[in-house]
Amino acid sequence: MSTSIEIVNTILSSVTTVDLMKLFQKNPNLIDTVEGVAKRIGQTASQVESDIGKLVDLGILVKIPSGKSTVLVLDKKRAKEIDMKIESMLGLEDGS
C-alpha cells in the first residue's frame, strides 16, 4: 500500500499523469485504448505508456483485455478513495 504522500508524488510526477487524471476525472466513463487515451491529451501511446503504468499500479486505472488490444478504464471507487486521501492530506476536509 502506498502512503498518501507517495500517491500524491506519483500523480504529480509528470504533466502527463496530471493530464491523465484530469481526463478521467472529467470523463469518468471513458473507455479507450492506450492510443485513444493518449490522443485525447495530445500525445502518442509511447509517450504515455509509463505514466499510464504508474496509475495502473496505483489502482486508479485498470487495463481490460479487449479483442486484439487492451482498454483503459477508471476505477471510480479507487479514484474517490485517493481523492479523499489527498484532500485529508492537504487538510481540506475540515472546510478550511
Partner: protein, 254 residues
C-alpha cells in the same frame, strides 16, 4: 406530468415531435438522425435520453466519440438538462470511447450496472468513416444488429456532408436503408434568416408526418414549431413562396 407512453412507443418527450411520429419512435427501433454540423443532432439526442429517464423512467446511455466530451454536460445544462444528477442516480451514463472499442466491447459500453439500457445514442457514426479500415457499412450494420438484439431504442447520429437535395448522398442512402427510422435535421434560409428544421423521411411500420417542421433550440430544450407550408422547396434548400400564395398576392390577397 409526462403524457402517457403509448404502447410499443418510445416517445421523445418533445410533444410536437412525438405527434409527428404518431406517439414516438417504435420501441426497439434504430433511428438515424442525419444533418449538417450544428443542426441540433446532439441536442435532440440528449433530449430523447433525458426525457426517457426523467419522464418515462427508462435507463439511457450516451456514447460519444468526441475528443473532449465533458462539454456535453455544460451544453445539456444550457438546455435545462442536468446529466450529472442522472449519472449520480445511476439512471444515465455518458461514455466516451472510440469506434473500434465500441465494436469490440459493446456490452461493456452499453450495459448498466444492473439494469438494461432502454435508450442508447451513438454520437456520431461519422467517426466510423474516419477511423475504420473495414467496410464502414458492415461495421455499422453489425452495430445496428447488436443494438436491436439488446432491445434498446437507439439513435445513431450522422453528420451529413453532401448538400444534395435531402442532404443524402449514395452512402447516406445505404445508411437510411439499414435504419428503421430516418430523421433529417437541416438549415433553411427563409428571407435571409437561417432557421432549423426537422423532417421524418422514413418510419418502418408506422405512419408519420411528412412535412418539414421548424426545430427550435431553447433554454427549456428542443421544441418543434410549425410547418413551412407557404414555402415550396424548403427540403431542397431553395425555398420560394408557393405558387398559390404568389398568385393570391398578385391578386391583392395576403
Amino acid at each position: 406530468m409526462a403524457p402517457e407512453m403509448a404502447r410499443g412507443r418510445a416517445p421523445t418527450g418533445v410533444l410536437e415531435f412525438d405527434a409527428m411520429l404518431n406517439g414516438g419512435f417504435m420501441k426497439g427501433d434504430c433511428v438515424l438522425v442525419t444533418g449538417a454540423a450544428g443542426t441540433g443532432k446532439t441536442n435532440l439526442a440528449l433530449q430523447f435520453l433525458y426525457n426517457g429517464v426523467t419522464k418515462y423512467g427508462e435507463h439511457a446511455v450516451y456514447v460519444t466519440f468526441e475528443q473532449m466530451p465533458d462539454q456535453i454536460y455544460r451544453d445539456a445544462k444550457t438546455l435545462g438538462m442536468n446529466l450529472e444528477k442522472l449519472e449520480e442516480e445511476n439512471r444515465l451514463k455518458v461514455v466516451s470511447t472510440s469506434p473500434d472499442v465500441l465494436v469490440q466491447n459493446p456490452d461493456m459500453i452499453t450495459d448498466f450496472s444492473a439494469e438494461r439500457a432502454e435508450r442508447i445514442v451513438i454520437d456520431s457514426i461519422s467517426y466510423f468513416e474516419l477511423s475504420r479500415k473495414n467496410s464502414v457499412r458492415d461495421e455499422i450494420y453489425t452495430l445496428i444488429r447488436y443494438l436491436k438484439t439488446k432491445g434498446a431504442t437507439s439513435m445513431l447520429l450522422h453528420e451529413a456532408q453532401t448538400e444534395s437535395p435531402h442532404g443524402f448522398g449514395p452512402y447516406e442512402h445505404g445508411l437510411s436503408f439499414l435504419a428503421d427510422t430516418v430523421v433529417v435535421l437541416k438549415y433553411v434560409e427563409i428571407e435571409s434568416a437561417i432557421q432549423r428544421a426537422v423532417a421524418i423521411l422514413k418510419m418502418r411500420g408506422s405512419d408519420h408526418e411528412k412535412t418539414l417542421r421548424e426545430l427550435k433550440i431553447t433554454p427549456k430544450g428542443i421544441e418543434v414549431g410549425g410547418s413551412f407550408d407557404q414555402w415550396e422547396g424548403v427540403l431542397s434548400g431553395a425555398p420560394h413562396k408557393s405558387f398559390a400564395i404568389r398568385m393570391s398576392k398578385a391578386f391583392g390577397g395576403i
